[in-house]
């Protein structure tokens, strides 16, 4: 891997104990949820006896929420703040350009989100058949979870670029972003709610959700790029 930004991320994500603990937690929480929502569990089974067990849907939503939670925090470098080079360090003390840094961070986010999703694949596939669903529904579900998680990751990146030195504000904004992204749309805008379309497995609603997350993704990237510009300007101003 020639890209220094991706190389740094790989080193941290695969060798740092704190990050490896996240993988364990992620796997363990997913396993416990699957065990609980397996059919014949009275707490949900009799709610709607005419339907297939909701195991896969609940598992998909759980994966979405857990992955979004970890993604936004991993994007904001919460677990490894001191191990990463800061954005001013990258931009002002290395030959890496703003565009290269942005590209590297996006690439890293893409592959790491994919890796996390791969870890949860056995849980999703185990619950697929018993829920009366097919591989096409699995693909749809993976696409939704991946799109949403990647967007969360980039939002985390944006927030850390803005609130890097103010950890409280960063934590607060991360949590608020997650809440705003997932909770109100369930009732206010169900057509763009990732949770609603995973619950209903409504493939026709994918386009609005994809459009929303893609728009958020683009806006976040533009804002990050603008922020990088200001970081460079500030350094130049300070050094002059």
């Amino acid at each position: 891997m020639k890209d220094p930004v991706v190389q740094e991320g790989m080193q941290i994500y695969f060798y740092l104990n704190r990050i490896r603990n996240i993988y364990f937690h992620y796997l363990l929480i997913s396993a416990v949820i699957l065990f609980l929502v397996w059919p014949n569990q009275p707490f949900y089974y009799y709610l709607d006896f005419n339907r297939h067990p909701l195991s896969f849907r609940i598992m998909s939503i759980a994966t979405l929420i857990i992955l979004s939670f970890y993604s936004i925090r991993l994007g904001a470098q919460i677990y490894s703040h001191e191990d990463f080079h800061t954005f001013p360090e990258w931009l002002n003390f290395t030959p890496t350009t703003a565009a290269a840094l942005l590209r590297g961070k996006i690439l890293l986010s893409f592959f790491h989100t994919l890796f996390l999703l791969t870890l949860s694949l056995p849980f999703l596939l185990a619950g697929l058949s018993i829920s009366g669903l097919s591989i096409s529904e699995l693909c749809f579900s993976l696409l939704v979870v991946f799109t949403a998680s990647l967007t969360c990751r980039i939002i985390g990146l944006l927030l850390t670029a803005i609130f890097a030195e103010r950890s409280f504000l960063l934590e607060l904004s991360l949590m608020l972003s997650l809440i705003i992204l997932y909770i109100p749309p369930i009732s206010l805008f169900p057509q763009v709610s990732a949770i609603s379309i995973l619950l209903n497995m409504d493939r026709s609603s994918f386009s609005p959700v994809a459009a929303l997350f893609f728009a958020l993704f683009l806006i976040a990237i533009i804002l990050i790029r603008v922020r990088f510009h200001f970081i460079i300007l500030k350094y130049r101003k300070d050094t002059l």
Partner: protein
């Protein structure tokens, strides 16, 4: 559309014929070489909430057409956005320059959405049209009169509820019993029915079995040789015309021409010497009335008994099977007998212990790889590749294990039916429920070996928007339900039919001994049969095909005067002990069927038993691993009425 406002009685037969033609012309669905005439209900009238006939006449003036004729009705709640489409279809073959008529019977529960008619040939729609149903519905009692002239309009005034008298052409009479569902009274008024088809006569007989009421009035034309198709319906043998001189029973001061006849079976309500004037015969749950004279004649216009007589013949209040379509949509889950059974699923899911082993295996190996000493120092890239490979390996094995290996039970088909035989006709009313339970999102075809079976769907109250659409395809010898499971685990259908099932019973007293004689003319064995009265129960045992006689010197199970013990509860007490000992689906099915007797008006003495073979045989396409069916036979015993 002023032509639809039939007021009956304000015009002549000619006017009605013109109206009929006008109606047909209103629905002329023209295409380049294909035209279609549609006749909805009876002369365009459909009783709200009931099934009604629809005839589609196709005129092909071009090349031969082979395709499918589809009638699509939208049902469900418009306000709750729970609409679904029921498609009624049949194959059509139209040679060049030909004309054919196809009959359907559709359940019109709602008039808010239009009826869609389409013809598809070679995967291409060659014809499509929407019919607005709003102007066709009626809430009034429906009296059908087959007559040469409009002379029974006074029937509109005999009922407490508003009634509509309609004079349909015999050619448009339904070919299935369910087409008469909204009809309160059918009158054959001194008419020659030379062109009535045997299938239409059979439909009337089946409708009578289910509670229909038919009046056949006398006159010259009823003696016509052309009337041989309806001989089966007459409770008397027609002999000729006789003129009665001032018949006292009718309080008539002048001569009256009547049809001379001889009673075959039934009860003479009025008679003059040896001539039966009014005869009533019970057929299944319904009645046939024979009137030897024409009550519309001027000489009888002031007869005081006329209104009372017709009121008795109309009998029941107008009520379709769905009293209010809105209420129907809001019915609770407990309305369906099968819903209680489906709560206890027949499809076994893989057990938790297998899942636990799978999860522990995956978590353990990942723990060793990611956090453990395995490949910690050497070849780190290989380690993470192994982590990913392990995920894919467990994904594939998880899918195979929980799909193919442990979860093989794909579908189950459960059916419950209540059979009520009518010995006089050799027919039986069949009311059933059918549940398809599946673990797959796929199409299923259920072929019921009876083309006259009426199919409706039971929709449970859902907060989601499920896909409840289905198709009923009519074949020459069967009714085919085509249903997609979608995200639903179970789909329910109600089946109504009338089948040939000659089973009857009677009790005779000879020298102080009572003999129960049951004649089972079917091929089914009735098992665990009981003779039940309101007060006591006798165990009979199995009733195989043929004649079974049981003689006892014990007193007969007499009907209780006060009717204290409800039969259904009594039955539950008897079977209840056994039910607790045995467990499983069959027990639940029997309980559900017995429960269905509660609240019904039952005969004083009856036989109740079980048939395990499918009475309405259902062929299935797909892998139905579990099939379970049971039928409850409810046979009323009429003391004194022989076979």
């Amino acid at each position: 559309m002023a032509g639809w406002k039939v007021k009956g009685g304000s015009g002549s037969l000619l006017l009605n014929l013109i109206l009929l033609l006008f109606l047909a012309s209103c629905f002329t669905l023209s295409a380049s070489d294909l035209a279609a005439d549609l006749m909805l209900g009876f002369n365009g009238f459909i009783k709200l909430g009931s099934r009604a006939p629809v005839s589609v006449s196709l005129i092909n003036s071009g090349k031969g057409i082979s395709g499918e004729l589809k009638l699509e009705l939208q049902q469900g709640s418009l306000f709750q956005q729970e609409l679904y489409t029921v498609t009624y279809s049949r194959k059509i073959e139209l040679p060049a320059n030909s004309r054919k008529r196809y009959f359907f019977v559709l359940p019109f529960r709602s008039f808010t959405l239009p009826l869609r008619v389409s013809i598809t040939s070679a995967d291409r729609k060659i014809f499509e049209r929407e019919i607005d149903l709003k102007q066709h519905f009626s809430r009034e009692q429906l009296i059908l009169v087959l007559s040469r002239r409009i002379s029974l309009d006074f029937l509109k005034a005999i009922s407490a509820k508003p009634a509509r008298v309609v004079y349909p052409h015999p050619e448009y009479l339904p070919e299935s019993w369910c087409g008469y569902e909204g009809v309160d009274l059918l009158v054959l008024h001194d008419i020659s029915l030379a062109h009535i088809r045997p299938v239409q006569v059979r439909a009337i007989e089946e409708w009578l079995c289910r509670g229909g009421r038919l009046v056949i009035t006398g006159g010259v034309h009823i003696l016509s040789r052309d009337n041989s198709p309806i001989e089966e319906l007459l409770p008397v043998e027609l002999l000729g015309i006789e003129v009665l001189d001032r018949p006292g029973v009718l309080e008539l001061p002048e001569e009256l021409p009547v049809v001379d006849s001889r009673l075959i079976s039934g009860k003479v309500l009025f008679g003059e010497e040896d001539t039966p004037l009014i005869v009533r015969q019970k057929r299944g749950k319904g009645f046939i009335f024979f009137m030897a004279f024409d009550s519309s004649e001027a000489s009888l216009s002031d007869w005081p008994g006329k209104i009372a007589l017709w009121q008795q013949m109309v009998g029941r209040e107008a009520a379709g099977p769905y009293p209010d379509p809105v209420i129907e949509e809001k019915r609770g889950d407990e309305e369906l007998l099968l819903s209680g059974l489906v709560k206890n699923p027949e499809l076994n899911y893989p057990p938790h212990r297998v899942l636990l082993s799978f999860l522990l295996g995956y978590l353990g190996l990942q723990l060793l790889l990611i956090g453990g000493p395995l490949l910690k120092k050497r070849r780190p890239a290989l380690k993470w590749l192994l982590v990913i490979a392990l995920s894919f390996l467990f994904s594939a094995s998880g899918y195979y294990l929980f799909n193919q290996l442990l979860f093989r039970e794909e579908t189950a088909l459960i059916s419950l039916t209540v059979i009520e035989p009518s010995w006089q006709q050799g027919l039986a009313e069949v009311k059933g429920e059918l549940a398809v339970i599946s673990s797959r999102n796929r199409d299923y075809q259920l072929k019921i070996a009876d083309k006259e079976t009426a199919v409706t769907q039971w929709v449970p109250g859902h907060k989601f928007k499920p896909a409840y659409s289905f198709e009923v395809r009519r074949q020459s010898d069967a009714t085919v339900i085509i249903t997609r499971m979608g995200e639903l685990r179970a789909r329910y259908f109600r089946l109504d039919s009338v089948i040939d099932l000659p089973i009857g019973g009677k009790i005779e007293e000879r020298e102080g001994a009572f003999t129960l004689r049951v004649e089972n003319g079917s091929s089914f064995i009735i098992s665990e049969a009981l003779l039940v009265s309101r007060r006591s129960i006798f165990k009979i045992g199995a009733l195989p095909p043929g004649v079974t006689e049981i003689t006892t010197r014990s007193p007969l199970p007499e009907p209780a005067a006060d009717g204290t013990a409800a039969p259904a509860l009594l039955l539950k007490q008897i079977y209840g002990t056994n039910f607790q000992e045995r467990d499983g689906l069959e027990t639940g099915m029997k309980e559900a069927l017995l429960e269905s007797l509660t609240g019904r008006e039952l005969a004083d003495i009856m036989i109740i038993g079980w048939i395990r073979e499918p009475v309405l045989p259902i062929e299935t396409e797909g892998s139905f691993l579990k099939r379970q069916n049971i039928s409850l036979v409810y046979l009323p015993i009429n003391i004194g009425e022989g076979f």
